[in-house]
Subunit: 368 residues, 2 copies
């Protein structure tokens, strides 16, 4: 048993993901089923799994593809969805969430994945991984179904912090663009700043300041600043990265999610209305499934915590095995591309005034 | 010709709506078709129509049901969608929008309806009708498709102003509740304050202050305060009235609209995919139309400007005759119920500290 799971080779030549096995609404069996799915698809992935050893060993034992690829770290306690972040920060040392972050902190794993309590995970992440130099407020970035080529846009912050001044918004732009390049393979991402109108004179004072700061840094940081965007651009094709404060971002995604759910519920009702509509629904099943797949949040499961020394992927608490596997896939992609290091370098380079940057000062550091 | 349209009896026993015939994307013919539709359904409605006399006379002449019910007021100029509000405020005296507001200001009409430029309409409304005593920032309230019994929730402010302090938010709660009673016949509306979580300690400082202020005024103002609500509650069944600042409200509705449009577009694509799905779409036509009707913005066309001496209904610029007719129906309902007067009384009564209110101080003025 020990040979099967306590495998010191989990990381040999592989990208290692540190996984919090607990805290999911569906329990650790779903998490293990999810990482097993990823392991079967991807030979270059390894896991360190955190939680109660006996329970996890029993679950991992049955999965052939996890053999030699999944090390178990015993953590007896679990952070529940009801636990207050501040309590977890004080007393959470024995939890699987704490342990999972520890593997990233120690450099054993590249990225941490957890389905647990968002507030507690953010607080522990800041506490244990610490903020990147130059970052004042870390951010949570999510993917949102959109008309753009990659079918999803990135939005940040969606709730790590309810405030953001112009410097925070600049950091979000830099971090979001870096995430778009490394997580979604968009070489030259379009970045937009969320506002109530696209005219430059509109909106709050910090937004006007942020507009100019981001514009100044765009060329140097290799993204295309499209200026102010509106709520309708979040699911649109104007920008790949939507920058906003955590209060507005949280309201926007929850409104969008609620609206999508309402339409889904009404669609189901509409199709149940008469025998003819029931027949139509039957015939339309494939079409509706195709639509569902296109906007399925499980396909892009994972908010990413940005601005820390290490990357944390927050999976939905209610994610099934498909959802967990999607979060692991994103974590792998970010780990493999050395996203954390690139992000740190990007943020560090932008803290300087653009003119001071050696790579661009001579040719174009002052032209934008 | 003069006898047909310049009818001094437009208001005899009727609720008179002042209509800006110009400024719609579809032109005055659509506006006249819309009010004609309302006139045919409702014998108790009368109109004062503002715009270039010759053009309007020609349009109204053809409509039998508008005979003796529609007075035309000549206004040679038109506010375009591109005009800056401040310019319109300075030079807009000859416009149909200005003239339409003037009828409400003079007491000839109960409510004004316009499809024109929102910013200009708001600025002219504040300038000509003036704010109600006790109201610092007027608000725009819209209806949003929702799971609640009445199938739509009210949200305000959605963009009249980008700021709102705790007192403004209290005014929005009072005005929204009054609108719910008079415009949607909800006797005891549930009012929620939009935030990033439902716990009382969450959110910005002004939201916590507003929470307590609104709670104190709820009983006196005859609404049920459900506390903080989230973005997902805007299309939900938790509150009938969602209170927020104009920045957040604008972002939320535009995100929701964008998401609904994206789903609609993807649904159409999904149904076009194969011959079978095309057949399904044909059979599902009635179901899809039923859904479309349920969330059709034309059914509830009209943002309402609240907090002024007089009510202004802003119809979508792209509204067709059905949309214009829906805006007129809402305007009629509000005019018939003496909404403006009730709203003024409601706001005036809440400006006092609840304990000072004679009607409730003895029995329960301090219990809530």
């Amino acid at each position: 048993m020990a040979g099967l799971t306590d495998n010191a080779n989990a990381g040999a030549g592989r990208t290692v993901i540190s996984v919090d096995a607990m805290g999911s609404d569906r329990g650790p069996a779903t998490v293990v089923a999810g990482i097993d799915r990823s392991a079967r698809k991807n030979p270059d992935i390894g896991f360190i799994l955190h939680g109660p050893r006996d329970e996890l060993e029993r679950l991992v034992e049955r999965r052939k593809s996890l053999r030699d690829r999944c090390e178990i770290r015993h953590a007896p306690d679990v952070v529940s969805m009801e636990d207050k972040p501040s309590q977890v920060a004080r007393n959470g040392k024995g939890t699987s969430m704490w342990s999972a972050l520890e593997s990233v902190r120690e450099g054993e794993a590249d990225v941490c994945v957890s389905c647990g309590n968002t507030g507690a995970l953010m607080m522990l992440s800041v506490l244990r991984l610490r903020k990147l130099p130059g970052v004042n407020r870390p951010a949570i970035a999510v993917l949102w179904p959109a008309r753009s080529e990659q079918e999803f846009n990135i939005m940040l912050d969606v709730g790590a912090d309810i405030r953001a001044d112009e410097n925070d918004l600049l950091q979000y732009a830099l971090m979001g663009a870096s995430y778009a390049r490394n997580g979604m393979e968009i070489a030259h991402p379009r970045v937009g700043l969320l506002n109530v109108g696209t005219e430059e004179h509109k909106g709050r004072a910090e937004l006007k300041l942020a507009h100019d700061l981001i514009a100044e840094n765009a060329e140097n940081a290799n993204f295309d600043f499209v200026g102010f965007v509106e709520g309708s651009d979040i699911p649109g094709d104007t920008a790949d990265v939507i920058v906003t404060d955590g209060f507005t971002g949280n309201i926007a995604i929850k409104t969008g999610e609620g609206t999508a759910k309402l339409i889904g519920a009404l669609l189901r009702e509409a199709f149940k209305f008469s025998p003819l509509s029931r027949l139509a629904a039957l015939l339309a099943l494939t079409s509706l499934r195709r639509l569902n797949k296109r906007i399925d949040p499980r396909r892009v499961n994972g908010g990413v915590f940005l601005g820390l020394n290490g990357t944390v992927v927050k999976s939905h608490g209610s994610a099934d095995a498909t959802g967990v596997s999607a979060a692991v896939k994103l974590a792998f992609k970010l780990g493999r591309s050395s996203f954390s290091e690139k992000l740190a370098a990007r943020v560090a380079s932008a803290v300087r005034v653009p003119q001071d940057d050696e790579t661009s000062a001579d040719s174009n550091g002052t032209t934008k």
